[in-house]
Symmetry: C2
Subunit: 379 residues, 2 copies
């Protein structure tokens, strides 16, 4: 077995949060799985491993990483122990059982598996790990605790976000310049500019599939297909939704191009701009996320419009993280300093097209600081 130097900062600090939580909750071993079927960026948050591995943590503060590709793990990951997934036939239940032995987890300990474990798989764990008390839960879960920890970014993460936001802003400026100069003509042109520029600036790539929708396709919340060879920025409303992933952390912005827009289109645009301003003014530490979302919904309702999606969401290693800014009773999130969220009001009309304005915002002690500066571009 390869024994590695355990957890450099910031991984050690994050692991400590996880270990402390396990000790408090009486969890002997906790498992994290990132696979093609079920992605979980907590793997990367805790170890640096970008994807495709199991991670087992013991309350005795040891981490065992079980990667699909051991070469990638040797370069990127920090863990006390490293074992190839192939040794366990790439079977999570088998790996879990061996991990418990390897980490010397006492019999009858509580072993927590991910909240997203499918019910039939859960039964498989129960059947195989008879010496342990296997727990899979949503409320008060380990997965949920990690989600809470990750919702508030640490200093290192905020520094990364400032750089990612600067790269994003640079791309927005370049997009506007090329649009005004007549060089950017298709959805494809917009998407390709982003793919190239982000990599030139040292990004891993885009954080998610770029959505570029010209006037004929902007009515959809998320265009399908994501982008095509169709015109972009021609008369009407065009939407461009993208993010760049820098050291794993993705930005998420949307700009709308309003070209020769009609009065009805301009009304959508103006309402969206006002809704964004309202959201930015009301988003601050201590406020309930549901209230900020409800405020924007009420604003749109007064204009007889409605927004078919949430106002925003946390961003980080995933494009969609906690907290969510959704106007629904089950949303209990309170904004805190260090949260990085999107604000993205939008209106969509099957005839007029769609309009969305989205920026990334850092919640501070004083209020909300826009990290990115996307905007409506009127041509």
């Amino acid at each position: 077995m390869a024994v590695r130097t355990a957890g450099k900062k910031p991984f050690q600090e994050r692991l400590n949060k996880a270990y402390d939580w396990m000790a408090r909750e009486g969890i002997g071993m906790a498992m994290i799985e990132d696979s093609e079927d079920r992605r979980d960026s907590s793997l990367r948050w805790l170890t640096g491993m970008p994807a495709d591995a199991l991670l087992f943590l013991s309350v005795e503060r040891k981490a065992l990483l079980v990667p699909w590709d051991i070469n990638i793990a040797r370069i990127y990951a920090e863990a006390d122990y490293l074992r190839s997934y192939g040794e366990f036939d790439r079977l999570p239940v088998k790996a879990c059982k061996k991990a418990a032995a390897l980490l010397k987890i006492p019999h009858n300990s509580r072993v927590e598996i991910p909240s997203v474990t499918p019910y039939p798989r859960f039964l498989g764990f129960i059947e195989a790990l008879t010496d342990f008390d296997v727990i899979c839960r949503e409320t008060d879960s380990f997965s949920g605790a990690l989600e809470q920890f990750r919702a508030v970014k640490d200093e290192e993460e905020i520094a990364v976000y400032r750089r990612a936001a600067a790269i994003t802003d640079g791309i927005i400026d370049l997009l506007e310049k090329q649009l005004r100069g007549g060089k950017l003509k298709t959805e494809y042109d917009a998407a390709q500019l982003i793919e190239g520029e982000c990599r030139k600036q040292g990004c891993e790539g885009t954080g998610f599939k770029t959505l570029a929708a010209g006037p004929g396709r902007s009515f959809a919340i998320h265009a399908f297909p994501p982008y095509t060879m169709e015109p972009f920025g021609t008369p009407g409303l065009s939407i461009l939704d993208f993010g760049v992933a820098y050291r794993g952390y993705t930005t998420d912005v949307t700009l709308t191009v309003a070209a020769d827009s009609t009065r009805a289109q301009e009304k959508l645009v103006t309402l969206t701009e006002k809704a964004y301003k309202l959201a930015l003014e009301t988003a601050r530490s201590g406020r309930a996320a549901v209230d900020i979302a409800a405020g924007v919904d009420a604003f749109f309702a007064r204009a007889n419009k409605s927004m078919p999606h949430a106002l925003g969401h946390g961003i980080g290693l995933d494009a969609h993280e906690s907290p969510v800014l959704r106007n629904r009773g089950d949303n209990g999130w309170i904004l805190e300093p260090g949260m990085v969220i999107t604000l993205e009001p939008g209106l969509y009309d099957s005839k007029l097209g769609g309009c969305r304005l989205e920026n990334d915002v850092l919640i501070t002690e004083q209020g909300a600081e826009a990290l990115t500066h996307s905007r409506i571009i009127r041509l």
Copy 2:
């Protein structure tokens, strides 16, 4: 409620398979979910809806589609009934309960939810649907039946694949030409050529993230990041793994560029080519997938090499579908005419770099027909 023309071919034929299965198994209602957290292309296979919806089928042969974006559904989807997800607060359990009422499912009927439903969510369904017998299973499941149906492509799908393969081959030829002409110099150049060409040919985009890894990064099974500004096709081994999605169906091919390769590198390449030839010769209708994979593993073992991944997998609306060509005891797949699979032997060395050769193959009555023609490119 919007009532729509029900199921045109081929959707109606596929729905009929699903309804017949439900009748045989005594399932009153079955649910399919495609969401950000849990993708399920059976949604698209049955209705044409590309993504982000719930689908409820009744044994009385009615389909209710509940999309996140109703504008997209109106353009792409076929279903008897259409209701916006927003009506159910975008809550699967709530939508399921209302769907049962709307589709007039008799009390005490068996209602089957997806195999991948997380255990805590499963409990939520049980709690809310007290009038029904809620079933979530892996063995003999509805999800599994759909997986079986989808593993064998129908005539329409095979026709789509022939076109997708021709586009893929055209791109491979262009890549080779640009490589030999010295125009294609970086991983980024390769990825961008694919992004542009596939869209020019009417594809929806790439079927998955293009993996382009020059000699410095080809040791990984799946390079991380997927592609960068690093050199490609320079001395050593470079790997390019990509697919194009045509009408939803993705190809999946890998070519390796061996430039000024050393004897040790050339050995990896030659072994991979021989393994591919062996796989293509042995893959045929009636044979067990596990045996074909075991044959290739044994071939590599005789050369003191080992392949750290499966030999191949089905492709379709997903880049990874059934059957899997994995050398593991639990693999019970038998090849059948109409299956479209990849064959992708590969060897990876942290010092020499990696080599993989992958093509898409149609299983026929007579044998295996290579649809794509990827290859080792020696420079």
